[in-house]
């Protein structure tokens, strides 16, 4: 079956060319065929999706104005709260947890008449870069089932790549949207911190987390962002419309930027695979061919980004994850004999190794006597990185980098080596530390026919420009049209 873009599906349904119910059934039957191979979903709402599709069809045939995503099957990472199904965070801790409320993004999708088709697999509590840390499910890369899909939003990226939804939402704390998008050959956008409400996103690192779209095309990402962006009373860190107005991101998406200046960071790709470097250089040539000027920029503090990130993110996580204690909800150890054991055993049994590792790291970084040396110092580094970006964006419109040093790596290769795993986020982490938006688009295939991503970073709240720059590349290349061949297809 030819895979329609999200925008195509939306337009065809709105125009009455196809019925939502037919399309949803089509997607569900594809899920039936390949999901057992890919494993992108923790929960699929098949019956509910069909019911909802029928409602939307009725609405359209009754002549009511359809919402911006009317009839479009969307998948949601399983760390966003929904009153339907569970919200597991791919953790034993929340395996049976049902949220009493919907995340703001979920409400917005529903208000736009989207069909929420399922909730996707992820690294437990969004901690990881391969989705191997899921305690509930194994997800593989649709391009090569022996490879990881990336993470932590691996399920969201794999589902889009495999055509198991029209688009999905992921969350990005250190690259968790962009890196799996790169590994799976789809588009992943991390908006500016504060652009999209985090209310109902299960917190990992509250100063870093951001929800964003994973889609097949740049325009699809713009359309999804249109729906989910905006200030929310329930999230005090979401930016007021008056401070950073939201554009219609689709509006000028096809207009190239005149006089575009692209920054490349000097000596930044040393650790990357040759294929990745080559692909970046080719991408730069594409932009040059479109009239862009390329400037070399220096970001002296980038070397410390990964270290600073793993202090800040784990410190916040250690506090954010303290609430999972077996007392109020979630997993409670049946082996506890007193109240202290309710805590210790529930947490020991309910959390996976990587989550425990990060809680311990963060607890240590915040402990008295270590706070200044670790947490405070990391905040200072973070500030310097912000300043690096501010300075750099004085010289160019955007920065292009690889998304990750490698393409999708074999399942099991890095799982026993956390440091190696952490380094796969080396190019994505700085955007989270600085709060700026970043996008990952496909810009090549490596020697193993695995997708290679290109990352574009832009100043805070300039998503409109960022999407247009990404679209320039997409319009003039064919990479986004390459699709994986799934064995069970």
């Amino acid at each position: 079956m030819e895979q329609l873009s999200l925008l195509d599906v939306r337009n065809k349904i709105a125009a009455g060319d196809i019925k939502t119910a037919d399309y949803v059934r089509q997607v569900l039957s594809r899920i039936e065929k390949v999901e057992s191979t890919v494993g992108s979903y923790i929960n699929i709402f098949g019956d509910e999706a069909i019911d909802r599709a029928a409602q939307i069809d009725e609405k359209i045939s009754a002549g009511q104005k359809p919402g911006a995503l009317a009839g479009v099957p969307i998948a949601i990472k399983d760390n966003m709260c929904t009153t339907f199904g569970q919200t597991t965070c791919a953790s034993k801790m929340l395996e049976n947890y049902q949220s009493p409320y919907n995340a703001t993004v979920v409400e917005k999708l529903l208000a736009a008449d989207a069909v929420i088709i399922g909730k996707t697999n992820m690294d437990e509590f969004a901690m990881g870069s391969s989705t191997e840390n899921s305690s509930l499910k194994k997800t593989v890369n649709p391009w090569n089932t022996s490879r990881v899909p990336g993470g932590s939003s691996g399920g969201s990226a794999a589902a889009v790549a495999a055509g198991l939804c029209s688009g999905s939402l992921g969350s990005d704390t250190g690259g968790s949207i962009r890196q799996p998008a790169s590994f799976c050959g789809v588009v992943g956008l991390k908006p500016t911190y504060g652009r999209v409400s985090r209310y109902g996103l299960v917190a990992f690192g509250s100063s870093l987390d951001q929800i964003g779209p994973v889609t097949q095309t740049v325009s699809d990402a713009a359309l999804l962002l249109n729906v989910i962006a905006g200030h929310d009373e329930a999230d005090s860190t979401s930016v007021e419309q008056s401070d950073a107005p939201i554009d219609d991101y689709l509006n000028k998406i096809n207009e190239p930027l005149d006089g575009l200046k692209i920054g490349i960071v000097r000596d930044s790709t040393e650790g990357a695979d040759e294929d990745v470097k080559r692909s970046l250089n080719e991408a730069v040539e594409v932009y040059k061919g479109l009239g862009a000027e390329v400037v070399e920029v220096d970001m002296p503090h980038l070397d410390y980004a990964v270290a600073a990130y793993y202090v800040v993110a784990t410190a916040e996580a250690s506090s954010n994850l303290a609430r999972y204690d077996g007392v109020h909800y979630g997993y409670r150890s049946p082996n506890a004999t007193d109240y202290v054991e309710v805590y210790t055993r529930s947490r020991a049994e309910g959390f996976g190794d990587e989550v425990k590792r990060r809680i311990m790291l963060g607890t240590y970084a915040l402990s008295s006597g270590y706070y200044d040396a670790y947490y405070l110092k990391a905040l200072k580094v973070r500030n310097l990185i912000r300043q690096d970006f501010d300075k750099t964006f004085g010289q160019c419109d955007c920065i292009v980098t690889p998304v990750a040093p490698t393409t999708a790596f074999p399942i099991g290769q890095n799982i026993e080596d956390p440091l190696k795993m952490y380094l796969s986020d080396i190019y994505t982490i700085p955007a989270n530390l600085a709060g700026i938006p970043g996008i990952s688009i496909q810009a090549g295939l490596d020697s193993n026919d695995l997708p290679i991503g290109l990352q574009i970073l832009a100043p805070a709240f300039s998503e409109s420009k960022l999407l247009r720059i990404a679209r320039m590349f997409e319009k003039n290349t064919q990479w986004h049209k390459s699709k994986p061949k799934i064995p069970s297809e």
């Binding site: 917190a203 329930a234 204690d325 706070y371």
Partner: protein
């Protein structure tokens, strides 16, 4: 042995619950004694994905309290996670203020003796959320989260108090201030105000100075308990020092509870545990800047505080300390009192109306006197009517009672209820003459003087009052009687 020289060294840690409609970081109602876990939401239950949204009213009230305590107010307010695991704390961290309290470096004044003012320094006052409550039953425990997230200010004083009486005075004064400003209802019984004194004693012995180990006292739910426990603890520490010679050192601070029935403090925890709360800034609430306009607006809600008002009443109006204290206890009552004076009422008369009949009525109705809604000008009119003899004092009380029930003016009530005194001499003289004529024996007894004279005179006065249905002005009647019976 020479008499021991010592001085108590007492600082207070005070938690004051702010009188806000909703909690500090969610919209749940703050309500005492509601059904367990009925005032909760994903936010105060610490459910995944929930986010705190600051209650601006709570911050304003904390700033107001800080200003009343003469503190410097922080230009911006930030929040910190304070981490510890306990079942009544759903997030297992409390949102508090660690390095930048909303208010710092102030003082509170108390009157140690009439006219003598002492300042107790305030180190800091910060906002934080309360925890829930653990309830233990048999071999299991339950948690009630209703209270979790209730806004508190924690006030920490310097150890500037030295006796139980001083600590009590500070506690009472603080309660008056926060009630005055509407910052808190400050009901100790409801736990809206909780005091924890930290006590030790400096003892001079053989020219050397010793400090006893610090004890913190918990479970104090009355002003009497505060004073009693502090005084008890000072004596206990002196005795313990004389017995054992133990002095203050790192880690030997203890926690004691007050046993109200036995009037003793009881050891709860021997050594202070070294807690590491791993405080760090909350990321989900951006720091709030207190703009100059906003600050001025809050400062505009300050008013003359009870102690200074009380002192002014004694000096300016010549009221007794007691009356001044009663009048100033509630801001609304004090304001009504002052408004009535402005409307022409005499200070002492208005004071008597409020503090005597008025307070009695208020107590019966279980409200503050001002809450009857009596207009100050009407109160002034009533006071003047009594002063001018238009009605007598007991009729005044009756009129006041009616005024609490209706909007009618005091003169109208007096007329309707036939309470206006008859002071017309010629009219009363006729009644006196009639009474004298009807009671010749009593007249004789008065004229005879001696034992029975006074009683007979009272009898005659009573006759006149009876004939006039109590409306005769007794002063005028007495004068006529006196003249007639010379």
């Amino acid at each position: 042995m020479a008499k021991l020289k010592y001085k108590g060294l007492i600082g207070l840690e005070i938690h004051v619950q702010l009188a806000t409609a909703s909690k500090l970081f969610c919209r749940c109602a703050v309500e005492f004694a509601a059904e367990p876990n009925s005032r909760v939401c994903p936010g105060c239950l610490g459910m995944p994905g929930s986010m705190p949204v600051m209650n601006k009213q709570a911050l304003e009230r904390a700033i107001l309290a800080g200003l009343a305590l003469n503190c410097n107010i922080a230009e911006f307010t930030k929040w910190d996670h304070k981490s510890y695991f306990y079942p009544d704390l759903p997030n297992n961290y409390q949102i508090s203020q660690y390095d930048i309290p909303v208010a710092a470096d102030g003082y509170i004044e108390i009157e140690t003796q009439p006219g003598q003012i002492k300042r107790v320094r305030i180190r800091r006052a910060h906002l934080e959320e309360d925890a829930g409550k653990n309830m233990h039953a048999g071999n299991y425990s339950q948690v009630d989260i209703n209270r979790a997230g209730t806004p508190l200010i924690e006030i920490v004083t310097e150890p500037d108090m030295s006796t139980g009486a001083e600590v009590r005075a500070v506690a009472i004064e603080l309660q008056r201030i926060v009630r005055y400003l509407g910052v808190s209802e400050a009901d100790m019984q409801k736990g809206q105000m909780r005091f924890e004194p930290n006590i030790n004693v400096i003892i001079e012995q053989n020219g050397d100075e010793f400090r006893t180990p610090i004890a913190e006292i918990k479970n104090l739910n009355s002003f009497r308990a505060i004073q009693g426990s502090v005084d008890y603890e000072i004596e206990r520490q002196i005795e313990q020092f004389l017995e054992s010679g133990t002095v203050m050192e790192m880690g030997n601070k203890s926690t004691r509870g007050w046993d109200d029935s036995r009037q003793v403090t009881v050891l709860q925890r021997e050594k202070e545990e070294a807690h590491d709360y791993r405080c760090f800034p909350v990321q989900n609430i951006p720091p709030v800047k207190v703009t100059p306009q906003w600050f001025d607006e809050i400062r505009g809600r300050l008013c003359e505080l009870p102690l200074s008002r009380q002192r002014r009443y004694t000096q300016q109006y010549g009221l007794s300390d007691y009356d001044a204290r009663v009048l100033t206890a509630e801001r609304g009552v004090a304001e009504l009192f002052e408004a009535a004076l402005k409307a022409g009422g005499d200070a002492k008369r208005v004071c008597n109306l409020i503090t005597q009949a008025g307070m009695k009525l208020a107590k019966e109705a279980q409200i503050n006197f001002d809450e009857f809604g009596i207009k100050p000008d009407k109160l002034a009119v009533l006071a003047t009517m009594i002063d001018e003899g238009t009605v007598n004092a007991s009729a005044g009380d009756k009129i006041l009672t009616k005024m609490t029930q209706s909007e009618a003016s005091p003169d109208k009530i007096a007329e309707d209820e036939n309470l206006i005194q008859k002071s017309d001499e010629s009219e009363l003289e006729a009644v006196v003459d009639q009474s004298l004529a009807e009671n010749p024996q009593a007249v004789e007894e008065v004229k005879a003087g001696g034992k029975k004279s006074k009683k007979a005179r009272g009898f005659l006065l009573g006759q006149v009052m009876q004939k006039t249905k109590g409306q005769a002005n007794p002063k005028v009647v007495s004068a006529i009687l006196g003249r007639k019976l010379e």
